[in-house]
Symmetry: C3
Subunit: 345 residues, 3 copies
C-alpha cells in the first residue's frame, strides 16, 4: 500500500511541511530508514538522524525546531508516539486469523468454543473450559480444566493457562507465558523437610491485560492472584500467589512480586525490580529498575530507587556521596591528623 504524505497528515490531523506528494510504503527506524519509508522523531537523542535520513517522511512534534535543513517531508503532530501507534496499526501489525479450529488440536467435548475462534495445531482445551468469540489460539497452547478465556484474546504459541484460571476480554499473552502454576507455599516440618501447601485458588486476568513471553503468574493459595484491567506486564516477570497488580500498571521485564504483594493502579515498575510479600503500594508509584521494595508505600505518585529502596532523590544523593567515599575517607584521616597536631599530640 502506497499513500501520500498529505493523506497521512490528514489521517493524523497533522500539519505538513515539505512535499505533500511524498510517497510512503512502510515504516522504518530513523537510523536506517530509506526512500518510501515514514519514520518519526520523538526522543531528541535521535535528532541528528533527522538531518541525514533518507526517509521520505518524518513525524515530528508540533514544537520541534530543526537546527539544520531537513530533506524529508515533515508531518507535525500533537503527540508523536500516539501518531506512530496509530500508523503502525494502519500499516500492519494486525494478527491475522482464519477463524478455524485445527483438526490437529484437541478440544474436549465439554468445552465451549465461541464463534470465529481460531485454534492452531497441537493446542489443547481441556474439560469444561470456555473460549470467547473471536479469540485466537496459536499452536501448542494449553487451556486447562474449567479455565475461562474471554473474547478477542490472543494466546501466542506455547502459552499455558492452567485449570480454573480466568482471562478477560482483549487480553494478549505472549509465547510460553504460564498462568496458574502453583504458588510457592511449603510448611516447614520438624525434620527439616517441607510439606507442600496445596494451592487451591486461581489467577484472574481482567480485560485488556498484556502478559509478556515466559512471564509466570502463580495461582493463589486460596482466592485469586489478580492482574487488573489494562495492566501491562513485560517478559520474564514473576507474580507470586495472591499478589495483585493494579489497573493500568506497567511492569518492565524480569521484575518480581512476592506473595500477597498488592500493587496500586497506574504504577510504573522498572525492570528487574523486586517486591517482598505482604506489602501494599499506593497508586501511581514509580520504581526504578533493579530496586528492592521491602515495605508498604503509602505516598501516591512517589518515586523509589535502591535495594532496599529509598525515595528516588535521596538514593541519588546518597549514591553520589558513595562515589566520593574513598576521598571522604582520606579527608577524614587528614582531619584526624590535623586535630592531633593542634592538640599537640
Amino acid at each position: 500500500m502506497t499513500v501520500t504524505a498529505a493523506h497521512l497528515s490528514k489521517l493524523l490531523q497533522g500539519e505538513i511541511e515539505g512535499n505533500p506528494e511524498a510517497q510512503v510504503e512502510r515504516p522504518g527506524k530513523i537510523e536506517d530508514a530509506g526512500p518510501g519509508e515514514i519514520t518519526f522523531l520523538a526522543n531528541l537523542k535521535y535528532e541528528s538522524f533527522a538531518y541525514t535520513t533518507e526517509a521520505s517522511v518524518i513525524l515530528v512534534s508540533k514544537d520541534f525546531e530543526p537546527k539544520k535543513p531537513i530533506k524529508a517531508t515533515l508531518i507535525r503532530v500533537d503527540d508523536v508516539y500516539a501518531s506512530v501507534a496509530f500508523l503502525l496499526d494502519e500499516f500492519g501489525g494486525k494478527v491475522e486469523a482464519q477463524g478455524e479450529v485445527s483438526s490437529s488440536s484437541f478440544v474436549h467435548e465439554s468445552a465451549k468454543i465461541g464463534d470465529k475462534v481460531s485454534m492452531g495445531h497441537f493446542a489443547v482445551v481441556e474439560e469444561g473450559a470456555e473460549v470467547g468469540e473471536g479469540t485466537i489460539i496459536f499452536p501448542q497452547v494449553f487451556i486447562g480444566k474449567n479455565a475461562k478465556i474471554g473474547k478477542n484474546v490472543i494466546l501466542y504459541p506455547g502459552v499455558k493457562i492452567q485449570h480454573d484460571c480466568v482471562v478477560g476480554d482483549n487480553c494478549i499473552l505472549h509465547s510460553n507465558a504460564v498462568i496458574g502454576s502453583d504458588g510457592f507455599g511449603f510448611a516447614p516440618q520438624a525434620d527439616g523437610t517441607y510439606r507442600k501447601i496445596a494451592q487451591t485458588g486461581n489467577v484472574i486476568l481482567e480485560e485488556n491485560v498484556e502478559v509478556g513471553a515466559n512471564t509466570t503468574i502463580d495461582r493463589a493459595t486460596m482466592g485469586s492472584t489478580v492482574i487488573k484491567a489494562g495492566a501491562k506486564l513485560d517478559n520474564l516477570i514473576m507474580v507470586a500467589h495472591n499478589a495483585e497488580i493494579g489497573k493500568n500498571t506497567v511492569v518492565a521485564a524480569q521484575a518480581g512480586f512476592a506473595g500477597s504483594s498488592k500493587i496500586g493502579n497506574n504504577c510504573m515498575i522498572g525492570g528487574q525490580a523486586g517486591f517482598v510479600g505482604h506489602i501494599q503500594i499506593a497508586d501511581g508509584v514509580k520504581v526504578q529498575a533493579q530496586s528492592g521494595i521491602n515495605k508498604t508505600i503509602k505516598e501516591e505518585g512517589s518515586a523509589w530507587y535502591g535495594s532496599p529502596a529509598l525515595p528516588y532523590n535521596d538514593y541519588l544523593r546518597s549514591y553520589a556521596a558513595f562515589r566520593r567515599l574513598p576521598d571522604m575517607m582520606k579527608k577524614m584521616k587528614q582531619l584526624e591528623r590535623e586535630l592531633k597536631a593542634l592538640k599537640g599530640e
Copy 2:
C-alpha cells in the same frame, strides 16, 4: 462437602472457641472470606481482618489473644500453617489423573511406561526413556532419550526434560520448566570467536524436588548438575552446569546459580539473588533477596545481604549510614571549616 467446626477441630487436634456447629464448605482468604468459609490468621499483619471477617471459622495459634470480639468460631492449633496445609490438602488441590495415555501423544516403542501413568495430548517420550508408576504427564511435555522419570511425579504442560536426565520420585515440575539444556560453556579462540564446549553430562533431580514454572536447570559439562532431595525451587530460576543445590534448600523466584556453585542443605535463598561460580555455601545459610554472593561461605546458618553480600547485620548498618551520607558530607565540610578557623588559616 460441608463439615462442622467441631469435626475440623478434631482432625487438627485443635481447641474450639465459639459455635462448634459452624458449617464450613471451602477455604477463603481472611480479607474477603464469607459465610461457609474457613480462613486463618498466622501473620499478625492481617489481625484487623479477624475482627471484621464474615468467615464462619478462623484457624488461629493457641497463644493468640484477640483484642476485640470475634464473630467467627475459632479453632486454636499449635501450628497454623501446618494446619492450613493439612486442610487445603483435604479440601482439594489434589491433581486428578485418569491413568490413561493419550492416543495423540508419542511414546517411542522402546520407552518403558509404568502402571497408572497418565499422559496428555501431544506429549513426547523418546527412545529408551522410562516413566515410573503413577506419574502424571500433562500435555505438550517432552521427555528426551534415555531420561528416567520416577514414580508419582507430576510434569505440568510444556515441561521439557532433555536426554539422559533423571527425575526422582514425587518430584513436581511446573509448566515450561527446562531440565537439561546445555551448560553455557565456550572456549575463547584467538580470533575473538568462541568454540562451543560440548555438554556431555546430565541433570539429576533427587526425590521430592519441586521446580517452578519457566525455571531452567542446565546439564553438566561432565558429570551431573544435582538438585538434592526435598529442595524447592520457585519460578524463573537459573541453575547452571555442574551446580548443586542441597537437601531441603528453598530458593525464591528469579535467583541464579552460576556454574559449579555448591549450595548446602536447608539454605533459604531470596528472590533475584545471584551466586558466582565455583563457590561453596554452608548448610543453613540465609541469603536476602537481590543479594550477590561472590565467595565461599563457611559459617553454617549465617545470613547475608547486599551485592556483593556482607553479613546481614553489617549490611543493614552500612546501609543505614549510606542513607545519612549526604548529611555526613556536610558535617565533614563544617569540620574542615572549623579546623581551618582554629588554625587561624
Copy 3:
C-alpha cells in the same frame, strides 16, 4: 570407545607424563572421576583434587607445577579449556538426528524444507517459512509465517520462532526460548490507559548465535532486533525491541537489555545485569553481574560494576568504604567532640 593416553596426547599435540598406555573411556569431573576417566585441571581452585583423584588421565597446562605426587598420567597442553572442548566433541555431545520429518508434525504446504532436515513430533512450520539443509527441529517447536531458519541450526523442544524472524546458519536455540514476541510498546492515553503500539519489525539472529533456555528476544517496533554473529546468550535473558547485541558478545543468565540498547562486539556481560534503553556500549566492555548500566559507555574494554554502574575499580573502592561506614560515622562524632573541646565549647 577406549583410547590410550598416548593417542589422546598426540591428538592434542600435548606432552605426556606418566603411563602412556593408561586407558580412557569417558570424561569425568576432577572431584569425582574414577578409573578409565580423563579429567582436567584448569582452575587452580581444584588443584587439591589432582593429588587424590582416581582418574586415569589429567589434562594440565604446560606450566603446571605439581606440589605433590600425582598418580594419574598427565597430558600437558597449551590451552586446557580448548583441549577439553576438543575432547568433549570427540567423546560425545554431538546431537544425533535422523533427517526425517515426523508425520505428527505440521508443515504448511508452502513452507520450504531443505535436505536432511529432522523434524520432531508436534512441531509446526507455518505458511511461507523456510528451513535450511541439515537443520534439526525437536518436538513441539513453532516456526511462524515467513520465518527463515538457516542451515545446520538446532532448535530444541518448545522453541518458538514467530513470524518473519530470521535465524542464521549454525545457530543453537535451547528449549522454550522465544524469538519475536511483541516489543513492549504502549502509548499512554489521557484516561490513564495504554494503547498498544503495533510491533511490525522482526528479530534477526546472525550465524553461530546460541540462545539459552527460556530466553526471550522481542521483535522490533520497526526494523529489526539483531543478535550479531557469534554472540552467545545464556538462559532467561531478556532482549527488548530494537536492541542489538554485538558480534561474539557473551551474556550470562538473567541479564536484561531494554529497548534500542546497542551492545558492542566482544563484550562480556555478567548475570542479572541490566541495561536501560537507548544507550550504546563500546566494544570489549565488561559488566559485572547484577550491575545496572544507565548510560552510554564509550571506553572500549572498560569494566563496570554497581547499580548504577561505576568504573569497576571505583565501585570496589567505594564499596570497601561502604563496609567501613559505621566506623567512619563513629570517628566523625569523635572528631566533632574533640573539636568542640578544643574550641572550649
